[in-house]
Symmetry: C2
Subunit: 371 residues, 2 copies
Amino acid sequence: MSGEHQRAGTHDRQGRVDGDLVDREARDQSRVDAVLDDFFRLAKRRAESVGYRYVDLWKVLERNTSGGKRFRPRMVFTTYTALGGRDDEAAARVGAAFELLHTALIVHDDVIDRDFSRRGIPNVSGSYRDEATTAGIPTPTAEHRGMSAAVIAGDLALTGASRLLLQVPCDGPVQARLLDLLDEAVFVSAGGEMIDVELSLSDDLPTVDEILDMERAKTAVYSFEAPLQAGAVLAEAPEAVVRALGEFGREVGVAYQVVDDLLGVFGTQSDTGKTVLGDLREGKRTVLVAHAATTDDWFGIRPFIGKADLSEAEAEVVRGRLEACGARRFAEQLVEDHARRALAVLDGPDVGEALRDALAPLVQVVLERVR
Amino acid sequence: MSGEHQRAGTHDRQGRVDGDLVDREARDQSRVDAVLDDFFRLAKRRAESVGYRYVDLWKVLERNTSGGKRFRPRMVFTTYTALGGRDDEAAARVGAAFELLHTALIVHDDVIDRDFSRRGIPNVSGSYRDEATTAGIPTPTAEHRGMSAAVIAGDLALTGASRLLLQVPCDGPVQARLLDLLDEAVFVSAGGEMIDVELSLSDDLPTVDEILDMERAKTAVYSFEAPLQAGAVLAEAPEAVVRALGEFGREVGVAYQVVDDLLGVFGTQSDTGKTVLGDLREGKRTVLVAHAATTDDWFGIRPFIGKADLSEAEAEVVRGRLEACGARRFAEQLVEDHARRALAVLDGPDVGEALRDALAPLVQVVLERVR
């Protein structure tokens, strides 16, 4: 998930900015940050007994966990608060667990993608690689050091996520449900990652449905479904509500991912925080590409997909052809369909007014990203 | 840890094979296998909903978890049974958790070491690489596919370990202690792995103490200390016993690792399950090398350490010099010192006779490996 929006839940249904909400979000975020600060402070202290080199790894991991928009914790707080939850410290702990899970998954995703930076800043691999090259170590060795550190750091973040959930002050059955949700999030996102690896290696282009299933598994479950449901579980909401939030999360999560695909080609750098040539240059399997491959225009698009030195002028040509063949419109329609279905879930019998009012703006924000 | 012995606890103090013990160990092992079979059966079924490619990953991970000597589960059972524990199903679950942790750590260790096989059999990376090369995919891409699959598989095994602990039927405080032990094992072994990465990159040779600390952290804690303590915690043994088992595990674990260093140079292939040129060729930082570096003979040894094409004849020269400079004797003395200290812990006030009788043979087995 790239270019995470910064203001989910800060608009009410009429689109007005709600000052109270902004204040509450800032307060929730600082609670999450405080939980993570404590977590890392303790880990760094524990690491001292193993060795200073290990303390360094924790410092790098901490840097890679900070500065995010705390998107997943916000999902937790949104449902928790709307469902009447009042123990903000507990919610912050659950939110921090999902934030650490996010760190774990992107750190290992970067290993798999051989990426040494994220949003222009060195990631774990990049920090360790750069330090080594500065010390005169040859690049392949330095890169390998970076990857090794990142494999270990991801393991620590993954373990840390379940540790944080174990420390949530709540009843045993609630805790068990929270741990189940985290487990499901890890299980499904690992599957999505594996399928992404395989799809990107295959000569055959995947179908639109394969792309959507992969994107849902890799990102939407742990970013939307699971944290939205976790907030409800922590608030001890009825099972029907938790189930409805799963459906809502799936729809809005898939919409979000398709928006990402669109922004990766048609967005501006400020939308996405990364070059908008990246997806095309790396030949990323997206809904756009999968749809274009089913059209007669594909022969004129294919040569540019995965062209490592694609120029901005060539990218403009591809954009024009992706538009002409209907791929852009198709993807936009997908976003709208899933957004509509997400809103329909909110209008269902199991979702009360407070929850609906809290979640509808999220759909708006997703739609606005692409408009 | 390589060349794990197959018969810990199958000798009594006089060295006679105890038939009852062999039967019990076989029974315990099949209980652990049954827990793991269930775990993987469920995971493969769950994976179907994500995609057949994900089911394949679980199958490969399962293969990489089977066939081991179930060393860590045996540590759990040894203390649990000696301390009066009778719920063998619970112990099997705890043992299986440590077995999965072991899988997770070696799968990621192999990624870090860029190893594609373990004991001559393709590991997770190797299976995925080989399948890809057979399909005509170029080696670098195939290797990268292998590494990617292994990063994901290790994450799944790591998560699986704590899931299994969460399913142990026991009181809340006991479960919390078990989870703490697992967490400590992950935390410390990750630190050991990181320090191993750093030591192997450094031009400066580490000291003997640095090697011992690294080996203890990387392997001894999760292989000895934590599972021995977990058996005691599950048996609800007094805190003093759990502490003594930590000390015992540390001593015997370090002895075991130094034996590994010795066998890696002076052992036979049947001792270690791997070529005895491997450690020398890869320039592995061992107690032998660290000690030799402090002697005047080092200039005649150094050129061979890390020589990728070291011949058997050259290895014989190195062996002779490691012996002449006293490194072999030094390492053997270290093993004996730690073994003696391990036995001294067993003679302490907190360890009862049954536990002493169950654990003393473990020290013998470690000593016998090197004699």
